[in-house]
Symmetry: D2
Subunit: 158 residues, 4 copies
């Protein structure tokens, strides 16, 4: 099983100290990549992530959002994202996926998206207590199966 | 029954000629006010409006969106709205509710919102063939009742 | 447009006087055929019929159920139906579709089902104020379109 | 933690050999009590149980239905249940909760229902690999939490 690739983040919201895979070691991580103007994200994946955060509030699970913008950059910048998080009452940490500073062509995919070879948004990822990427799914996932997958990882020793 | 107040529009999308209550006379108008970052709009009211547009595609009904921004103006401008309409495949005309040019304080409510005394977003309005405001509802409306209300107005003579 | 075929009823529930197409003339009739052990009926069509009855409680609409049993007769008899109506709080009139008394073979389809050439259950039918069958649909119908169809018939003169 | 009470069964469906808590030892048991004419069971709990059976088809989970009839006995007998199971494509084992043979008053609650002190239907119970009752819930349970609870028990050693 492969270790989860490191995250490249240009800015964090809802986080005093920037979370990393190292600081989260020992916990299960529910990482969900989204774009604030992607209909499937807004209508399904983000509400599901909020539900996950509530259902596992007392568990050793960290919910992390990744704003993985690969289109329409001008209108999905950090200011817009901040409003989106506020309006949707998202209180868990959200990272803005980064671009290479020296990329004059502004490659269409941000760096974390590339590192995980994501196909689009929404994508959900489950990372186990030992930092390994155990599940990556583009599109929607059923609540019953998602609950089971999270609990299975939570039941593993750290 | 009161005539529907005129619309104050700073910009139209998906419209060659600006629709007005006068040019729409003879048709029933389903006008829905929304903000592109309002969760209730995005998750419920806009999908319902798309469904109305599809269900009544062959009827004498005009579906009109009104982007009634009263908060977070910086990130809900016309460029952002254009992306939102594209991503959600909204092809019916959408108006941007206007502010008074000479309003140095930028009053919190745009002009059409004020004229209709709307309480927030989403708000749906039904205007009959004679241009009268027959229904205004803040919040969500059930599909069964909405279908009935639209059909009742369509059945009235022009 | 054809007149709605007459109903053949072996027993009524929730009705003091047996409704007929003649006594209902002048009203719109929402007739829904179901079987109490048909999953699509129980999970979707019957809840929708209860919703129709509530939404149009003040309108000139009569909601009528037709228990059209064409299989498993032994366990969907009138006693079982009475419990079903009670448990689901169905208070509108429900007719038990009849078999010919002299039919030794017990033809697989009851008489009203035959007269309307229904393909199965659930089936919904809309009959206009003049007693004409305007719509017949096997399977599920969307709330928005159903509300519109009912209201269209209600708007016609008696 | 208490051991799950034994089941009192007058008849099994979909089972060659009668399952018992002893024969199921080592597996997690999802036991759901229902009545075939209880609306909450038919519309929510039974469809959810079918979903659980499909989602955990490859896991060491046994889904067991318990037809716990405490009202309207005449119309929810084994013949009616057999039709219900057939129409809903329920293929996992279903037990008919038993009454005491020598109970002339036909006590209103069948024996398994009494032993578990169930409050009504639907009720779901989760029994762990060691035969202990770990969860009992009257009413509806959310898919996300249910999936997590099942997976948590599956992760425990036998």
């Amino acid at each position: 099983m492969q270790p989860a690739p490191a995250w490249s983040v240009s800015r964090w919201f809802n986080a005093d100290a920037a979370p990393t895979l190292e600081t989260l070691r020992g916990r299960v991580v529910f990482l969900h990549a989204f774009q604030m103007l992607c209909p499937g994200c807004v209508q399904h994946a983000v509400p599901q992530s909020l539900k996950v955060a509530a259902a596992f509030a007392d568990a050793e699970l960290s919910v992390i959002g990744l704003h993985a913008v690969f289109e329409h950059h001008a209108v999905m910048g950090p200011d817009a994202l901040q409003v989106y998080l506020h309006e949707n009452r998202i209180r868990y940490p959200v990272a803005v996926d980064a671009y290479r500073d020296d990329d004059p062509t502004r490659h269409p995919l941000p760096l974390t998206m590339q590192a995980y070879a994501m196909q689009g948004t929404p994508t959900l990822m489950l990372i186990d207590r030992r930092g390994r990427l155990r599940r990556q799914q583009f599109g929607l996932v059923d609540d019953l199966r998602l609950g089971a997958e999270i609990a299975t990882l939570l039941a593993e020793p750290a």
